[in-house]
């Protein structure tokens, strides 16, 4: 096990960079953070649509969420990777494809978390904003969303662990993230799958366990300052 780490630790951390493509853990983290950052505003819009006035926009948002929740992420990745280039006529970068698929997928789930944060606020908050004469946009962006998002920070961090795990699906379309790099190591060192995938599991575990501890800590910090009841169902 130690020899493997000794020999491949740099590959594991940053892939072939700087001589080749960036990869490994660095790639996993970049993909995950970029996905979360891009997902966030999309999820806010979906949450606003889902909790807003009934109408065409809400129906579209509902349809989107229900559809995405009914497909495996891997299917979205296949679509983005194989079908989209055929439709648009040129190939797209695999890492980019993976991020797009994760963003679409996570928008549905993170959107539900933020929507729960919105509906969990006391209705007096909206009424007070309305009584002051605030319109929809300032009410949502100055009053409701800051509180709703603050209350669901643990859920958002939790979603980051989900994204990190999901990014391993990138190995199927040859995105050089952590799992893919370790698959390659495995084909070099044909006789040591136990050690290699043991290391891989350990890296994911340390990362995700640390994040889930952070989630618990945030949960405790925030519940002491929270207004309203937010019930965030376990997702994905």
């Amino acid at each position: 096990m130690l020899e493997i780490i000794q020999e491949y630790w740099l590959l594991l951390l940053i892939g072939e960079y700087p001589h080749g493509k960036l990869g490994g853990l660095a790639m996993t983290l970049i993909i995950s953070f970029v996905s979360l950052i891009v997902t966030f505003p999309c999820a806010v819009l979906i949450a606003l649509a889902r909790t807003g006035k009934p109408g065409i926009i809400q129906s579209i948002a509902n349809g989107f969420v229900h559809s995405v929740r009914a497909i495996p992420l891997l299917m979205l990745i296949f679509w983005a990777y194989f079908a989209v280039p055929m439709i648009i006529g040129f190939p797209i970068d695999a890492a980019f494809t993976l991020i797009v698929a994760i963003v679409i997928y996570q928008t549905a789930y993170l959107g539900e978390i933020i929507a729960a944060g919105i509906t969990g606020l006391p209705k007096g908050q909206r009424e007070a904003a309305a009584a002051l004469g605030l319109g929809y946009i300032p009410t949502m962006f100055r009053i409701i969303l800051p509180q709703a998002i603050f209350n669901v920070i643990p859920g958002i961090v939790n979603q980051l662990t989900t994204i990190i795990k999901e990014s391993s699906l990138g190995s199927i379309i040859a995105v050089s993230e952590l799992s893919y790099v370790m698959l390659q190591v495995n084909s070099n060192e044909v006789t040591k799958p136990l050690q290699i995938f043991g290391i891989l599991a350990a890296v994911y575990f340390v990362l995700c366990f640390a994040l889930s501890q952070a989630t618990n800590w945030l949960e405790r910090r925030i519940s002491s300052r929270r207004t309203g009841q937010v019930v965030v169902e376990a997702v994905a």
């Binding site: 006391p122 007070a128 904003a129 009584a131 002051l132 605030l134 300032p138 800051p146 207004t227």
Partner: protein, 243 residues
């Protein structure tokens, strides 16, 4: 100043306001009382269209509040509204709560708005709490901040829904004192309250609602006299028992 003409309202099949006709004169204080569920909150919430009405007409300074050219947000910003539960914005400090309407509705800069908000906080005696969060001040202080926030746009009308009902007894006084001062300053006030001492002292008119009907609308002397409507007398003796 505010006129209700044949106002009726239903929640689904339940009629909660029945043909209410009444007037609030400019600069006067009207106290609304009546048993729980009689429609007091609903009636005052119709004034700024927090509750829509299905029949009748409400005018504010002669203007139909449902007229087509009325912007509901402009209407609301001209009416101060205070809730039983304060409804301060917990993520904003006291002074930011009070500043918010200036920033977001009057579109003032922070530099313009802050001194105005501080002045208002001084007016309600809470300048020293400007940078506290709502969670860190008492109920009475919270309600005074809520009143300051509702007054910051200088509304001509102040509407309050049981402003002292959620307070510990020792904090009721500080809020009522402020309301007395505001009433004396000549703001037009509508206040739902069970504080009969306050009503007797400050109100120009007292309205009594029962089952959505405005059954009594009179000056305090008539309201508290022995020949008031028997519903009123029953209500008053019930209130006295609870206090």
């Amino acid at each position: 100043m505010i006129e209700f003409q044949n106002v009726s309202k239903w929640f689904g099949a339940l009629q909660v306001l029945r043909d209410v006709n009444a007037t609030v004169a400019k600069g006067t204080t009207t106290v609304l009382c009546g048993p729980s569920g009689s429609g007091k909150s609903t009636l005052i919430r119709t004034v700024n269209r927090l509750e829509p009405i299905q029949q009748g007409k409400i005018t504010l300074a002669g203007l139909d509040i449902y007229a087509k050219d009325i912007d509901v947000n402009v209407l609301r910003s001209g009416i101060g509204f205070v809730f039983q539960q304060f409804n301060l914005f917990p993520h904003l400090s006291v002074v930011e709560n009070v500043m918010l309407p200036l920033l977001r509705i009057r579109k003032q800069s922070r530099a313009q708005a802050r001194p105005v908000a501080m002045q208002m906080l001084e007016r309600v005696g809470l300048a020293d709490k400007a940078h506290s969060l709502p969670a860190d001040i008492s109920g009475g202080q919270s309600q005074r901040v809520a009143i300051a926030r509702s007054l910051i746009l200088k509304p001509e009308v102040l509407v309050l829904d049981e402003p002292t009902s959620a307070l510990d007894p020792e904090m009721v006084g500080e809020v009522l004192k402020l309301l007395r001062e505001l009433s004396a300053d000549g703001i037009t006030m509508m206040c739902v309250t069970h504080e009969m001492g306050f009503a007797r002292e400050v109100a120009d008119r007292i309205w009594f609602l029962r089952n959505g009907t405005l059954t009594f609308d009179a000056e305090p002397t008539a309201f508290f006299s022995d020949d008031a409507h028997h519903d009123v007398r029953n209500f008053l003796s019930a209130v006295r028992k609870n206090h």
